[in-house]
Symmetry: C2
Subunit: 207 residues, 2 copies
DNA sequence: GGGTCGGCTAAGCGCCCGCTCAGCTTCGGC
DNA sequence: GCCGAAGCTGAGCGGGCGCTTAGCCGACCC
C-alpha cells in the first residue's frame, strides 16, 4: 500500500523516515490535529482516533505527546532548511538564487501547509531542550537567507540598507504563508511562490 | 493610581473602555497569559492569580473564559482598524498614506506586542459566531489597505500586477511582526515601522 | 507446536480543568 | 442603624486530560 512520490521533482515521500508504519500514521494524524486545533487543544485520544488506534497505542511509539511534536518539528525544520540550502548553494546570481529560495520556500509553506503551520507556530509548546535544538535550526535558516542577501549586496545586485532587518522581513513574509494560505482559495502554491519571489526581489532592490 | 497616557500623541489609555476596574485587571492579566502561553494552555486560575483574585472572581465579570478572549479580540481589532483608517483616510499621496499606514500599523504590532499576538493568533479559539464577527473586521482591515494600493495604481504612483495578492503580502508582513518582535531585541517599534514602510513602498514599486 | 516478543487494547489512575455556589464583607440610600 | 445589592472568596463538582498497566493476539524461531 505504498503511495506515490509527492512530486515529480524527485521529492521524497513525506514522513518516509518515520518507521514503523503505525508510528508514521500516528505522526501524520498528530500533524493534522495540531494544525487544525493547536498542540494544547489536541488530545492524545484525538490523535489516536484519527490514526484508527486506541489512546494507549501512542505510547508504544512515542514517550509523550510532546515527543510527537518534537519529531514533527525536527523533521519539518530539516526539510525547510534543506529546501533553502539547495537554492542558496545552487548556481546563478544572487538574484536568481534569492528568487529560487523564496519561491521554493513559499511553495513548501503553502503546499504542505498543515506541517508548516505546526512547525512554525507550535515552537513554544516544546520544553526548553527541544526548543533550543529547534531554535538552532532556525538560526541556520536565517543564515542561509542572509548569506544570499549579503552576496547580492557585495555583487552590487541588491540595494539594501539593513541586511539583518530585511532578511528578517523576507523570512517573516514566507513563514506567514502557513498562517493564511487556504487550499480551497484562489491561488496555487506555485502562484504564491512566484508572486512572493517578485515581491522579495523588489524589497532588496534587484533589477 | 492612574497611569499616564500611553503615548504623547494623544492615544487613549489602553483598555480604558473596560469597566469596572477589576474587570480591566482581569482582562489585562488574560492578555498577558494568552500571549505568553496561548489561549488553550492558559487556565482561569492563572488569569485570576495574575490579577490578584480568586478563580471565582473571573465569573463575576465574564461569563466564560472564551468571552474574555472575545472582548480582547474585539477591542484589539477595533484599535487596529482605527489605526489603519486614520492613515488611509488622511491627506497626502497614496505613497505617503501607505507609508503612514504601514509604519503606524507595525508600531502597534511591535509596541503592543502581547495584545497583537492574542488578537492575531488566537482567532481559531473563538466559537463560530464570535469568529465570524472578527473575520468581518479583518475584511475591513484588508479593504483599507487594498484601497490605498488601488489609489496608488490609479494615480500611477505604484506598479503592482496583483493588487489582492500584494495587499495580502503587505498585511501578512505587518501582522507577523507580533510573532517575532522582541522587546529586549535590538530594534524599537519605531525603527521596525520605518524599515517596513520602506520595504512595502519597494514592494509596490513606489518612487 | 511451544516459547518469545513486539504491537495493541480495555480499563482506569491521579490530576487539574472550567465553572458553580453558599456565604461573607462592604457600602450607598433612607 | 438597618437593608439590599455588588464584589469577592473557599470549597468543591463533574468531567476530560496525559499517561500506565495487565493482559491478549499473531508472527516468527527452532
Amino acid at each position: 500500500m505504498s503511495t506515490a512520490q509527492e512530486t515529480a521533482g524527485g521529492e521524497t515521500e513525506p514522513w518516509g523516515e518515520v518507521t514503523p508504519d503505525a508510528a508514521r500514521r500516528l505522526l501524520v494524524a498528530a500533524v493534522e490535529a495540531f494544525a487544525e486545533r493547536g498542540y494544547h487543544a489536541t488530545t492524545t485520544r484525538d490523535i489516536a482516533g484519527r490514526a484508527g488506534m486506541s489512546p494507549a497505542a501512542l505510547y508504544i511509539h512515542f514517550r509523550t505527546k510532546e515527543e510527537l511534536l518534537h519529531r514533527i518539528s525536527r523533521i519539518g525544520h530539516d526539510k525547510a532548511l534543506d529546501i533553502l540550502r539547495t537554492a542558496a548553494r545552487g548556481e546563478g546570481s544572487a538574484t536568481e538564487r534569492l528568487a529560487d529560495a523564496v519561491s521554493s520556500f513559499v511553495r513548501w509553506h503553502a503546499g504542505r501547509r498543515t506541517t508548516a503551520r505546526v512547525v512554525q507556530y507550535e515552537l513554544d509548546a516544546l520544553g526548553p531542550e527541544a526548543r533550543a535544538e529547534i531554535v538552532a535550526l532556525r538560526r541556520q535558516v536565517d543564515a542561509e537567507v542572509r548569506g544570499i542577501v549579503e552576496d547580492g549586496v557585495a555583487a552590487g545586485e541588491f540595494d539594501v540598507r539593513d541586511v539583518p532587518g530585511t532578511t528578517l522581513a523576507i523570512l517573516s513574509l514566507c513563514v506567514d504563508v502557513a498562517r493564511w494560505f487556504n487550499v480551497d482559495g484562489p491561488r496555487t502554491p506555485e502562484e504564491v511562490g512566484e508572486l512572493y519571489a517578485d515581491l522579495v526581489l523588489r524589497m532588496v532592490g534587484a533589477g
